[in-house]
């Protein structure tokens, strides 16, 4: 999941910053904790994840809830607005997989002009 060969690298369609799209995907099926998010988003550092989550929060796409229990616990979940983004996100993914071949071809064929 989300390895370096992910189609999202090739697609010109982007949601928010580098990680935002994947974070939203991770939250698709319910709230997740900070450390739970770091697992699927392999290689993301704490700082960058925090950064991205804060931006999503500021834009009203994600809600942060800190539970006051004895042990520290923070959960992130999609707001209704964030959830509504899943639709265009799916559209974007559909487009990318539909035109996957053409995207690859275009990248690998600088033949039409020098170099």
């Amino acid at each position: 999941m989300f390895d370096p060969l992910c189609p999202s690298d090739l697609s010109p369609i982007r949601i928010g910053d580098k990680w935002a799209g994947m974070i939203i995907r991770c939250l698709e099926h319910g709230p997740r904790r900070f450390s739970e998010l770091r697992v699927p988003l392999r290689g993301i550092t704490a700082k960058v994840l925090t950064q991205s989550l804060r931006t999503l929060e500021r834009n009203g796409l994600v809600a942060r809830t800190a539970y006051a229990g004895p042990t520290q616990r923070v959960e992130y979940e999609l707001t209704p607005l964030g959830r509504s983004l899943l639709e265009p996100l799916d559209a974007a993914c559909a487009w990318a997989s539909e035109h996957w071949d053409e995207l690859i071809d275009a990248r690998e064929a600088p033949s039409s002009f020098a170099q």
Copy 2:
């Protein structure tokens, strides 16, 4: 058209680089010349437009045609692949205008946490 208050600034959905989405919109209704593109894209410099067009070309979304007439003439138009992007682009615009209010509210309401 494409003034600084454009919704695209607020929407988290992006197509390619800063100008790519607008360029594609400009080419929606047929081929356009370099200088014709500079008009609606107010403020874009030649370098940046060239840059953006070259990227679009490399990715197979836009085709460049130089006509060999006595006077220099270059036209850019969407490839079928580029044209197929109009669909998700429309979806993105639809989402943005549909959630316009919420986007504004989110931006202007840092009230839920300090500062």
